[in-house]
Amino acid sequence: MMHDVSPMAVAIFFLFVGGTVGLSFRLGRNAKSSAGYFAAHGQIPWFVNGIAFAGDYLSAASFLGICGMIAAYGYDGFLYSIGYLAGWIVALFVIAEPMKRLGKFTFADALDSRFDSRGIKLAAGISTLAVSIFYLIPQMVGAGVLIQPLLGFPHWVGVLLVGVTVILIVVTAGMVSTTWVQFIKGSLLVIFSLILTILVLARGLSVPGGQSVPGVEGHSDLDRGAAWETIGPLSADEWSRTTQIDGRSILPDEDGWDRKRWVRLQSMPEGNASQQPGASPGGGGFTPFEVVTLDSSQVLLREAQAVTRRADGSELINGWVKGRGENQRLLRPVGHLSRLPEGQTSTGPLGPLEYLRVLQDSEVVLWGSHPIKHSDGSVTTIHYQRPTDGSRVLRPGEHPTFAGIRSGQTIDRIEFLSLMMALFCGTASLPHILIRYYTVKDESSARKSTIVGITSIGLFYVLTLYLGLGAMTSGALDVQDTNMAAPLLARSISPLLFAIISAIAFTTVLGTVSGLILASSGAVAHDLLAGFFGVRLSSDRQVRVAKLAAVVVGAIAILLGIAFQKMNVTFLVGWAFSIAASANLPALVMLLFWSGTTRQGIIASVIVGMSSSLIWILLSGDTYQKVYGWPAEDAWPPFSQPGIVTIPLSFVTLVIVSWLTKTRGETSGWSAAE
């Protein structure tokens, strides 16, 4: 979709970003030593750190990805919200205080606290890098997604802009400014989501164009799609013979088009322009319709949208050249209700629970897509309406990833359990979350900031449901890009809000990316270089090396962000969680709760957990299909989410290796270790 660029949005945006970078420069002057760079001298107040947790955690994936998924499929996006929040319970009750007690700067410090082993530093350092990079991809993709409608730049410019800004933030300041930036962003994100939710509830639910067709009872339910044209019902017999509808001729079935499912009604060019380059035969474009078979004797034509991507990369919309000019077309925004309970057309303001009750008994038009391959290598994607009962939207199982739970196949159920397990175990193993335990002064503060974090994150996740559902019915959605749902919802309410929400979302990306790059640079300078290779660096030099590492990781992130443009960001985050949970959690938990854990056990567990989950993901059906473009059936693992296999595998590895190595006189008691 193409979007208008408003000068106000641009001004507000640069105000936010400028403010953030300025703040970072100001605070950065205090962060010259490694204690300052990596851990902000342990001087961050617990409340600020707690909100900063929310800022770190409520990344582009949470805000854009979850809202987008809810807007496109309903409750399924909310499953991620539930899993992400539940993970914090592990962080609070199991990890937070010991983590603070054991470590100094990085996650590897904590793992290594009993052993002083170079192997552990190496393994933990590498796993930190792997998880951070996987987590960075969706953040960068999110940045590119945001910049496009806001400033009108292409995706890669957005990614580059974020990359450069973040490298600037991290290099100038380190953890102090990253924390304060996260604090400001976390607060703004929760506050403005709350405002947006209140506005969504105040707007209530309505059926567009409902009032304009009073008294039409016959096929009113389907007709009320208002701006979307519905033809019929036609008798099947009549349909099979007709060649023209309302003076528009039906374009012939050719080159992949099949009238059983899709049909094109010709639309003539405006003015006296004749043949458009690349337009369908006969000049002009067409209006695509889905042929819906009501029963054996009747069919209904329901308007759809068609995007043809040609071999040279250019796009046609409904057969027209993409653009705003004469004889050009753009995709239309979507998202509406087709029916409210008891034939209402508009509800007026609704309470939060009432909103869900009303939606449950309404009918929503979701959008599906279907590809048609043509002989010249171009592909047309048809976006078609899927009127769906509200009760189905408010239960799990509409999204393709989750639809498996209704298929009755055991393998699909295991995949679902696997994802929910990775979300639960992943939070407490994310390196950029773990390093935040070193920015406060003691365990009590670590605990208190986690509680503040959980409260603000929980509140936010409740809001995501309303933002997603609000976007679903806003009439502002982009069928090609679910990630834009939340900002587009804001725009359907007010342009000012759109500018603010987009700017917050963008700065959220900045903050999360800074945290991740900081964690990676810590892993390189502190764990790998100093810890493993034994390079003795002064505090200043160590910081300089870390900054260099930040630039390199940032550059890698920019490239990956451009490469993965097309993927839903929440989906990508699921991978990062799987790797983190498999590599880090077993070692961390066993270290805390089993005194028989040995050095070799930890190393083996981290390596096995990380490589098994990474290999599983790279060989999975999802990756085959969406990244390499190969058929998903050829993939080796039976399902795409590795957690349910690789997390237990990592635990088992740790226990077995620890047993095998215990007899070699490894110290197993705590008294000897400290």
Partner: protein, 96 residues
């Protein structure tokens, strides 16, 4: 020194929440139609249980905070944990 662990209360609350989460995930995976059941106030189980999981997470966190405040705060300045507040520069310069 004992292994550093989370408190007993923390672990109890953790197990409680784990079971609650497990219940939700298992219902969604093995009996998804149960999620459409509307047991209370016209809202379906998916919404009630989902909101419940978020609400209870916050509640448990607050309970934990309230109960551990007095007990753990006493030991915050404990010398055995080392100088956690504002570590001296030398400590941060030595690569471990």
């Amino acid at each position: 020194m004992n292994p550093p662990r989370a408190s007993r209360l923390g672990l109890t609350l953790f197990v409680f929440y784990l079971l609650l989460y497990l219940g939700f995930v298992l219902i969604a995976a093995f009996s998804p139609s149960l999620m459409e059941w509307r047991p209370f106030d016209g809202l379906n189980l998916a919404i009630l249980y989902g909101f419940g999981l978020i609400g209870i997470a916050i509640l448990l966190a607050l309970i934990y905070g309230a109960f551990t405040k007095t007990r753990l705060d006493d030991s915050v300045g404990d010398a055995t944990r080392g100088p956690v507040t504002n570590p001296p520069r030398s400590a941060s310069e030595t690569p471990s």
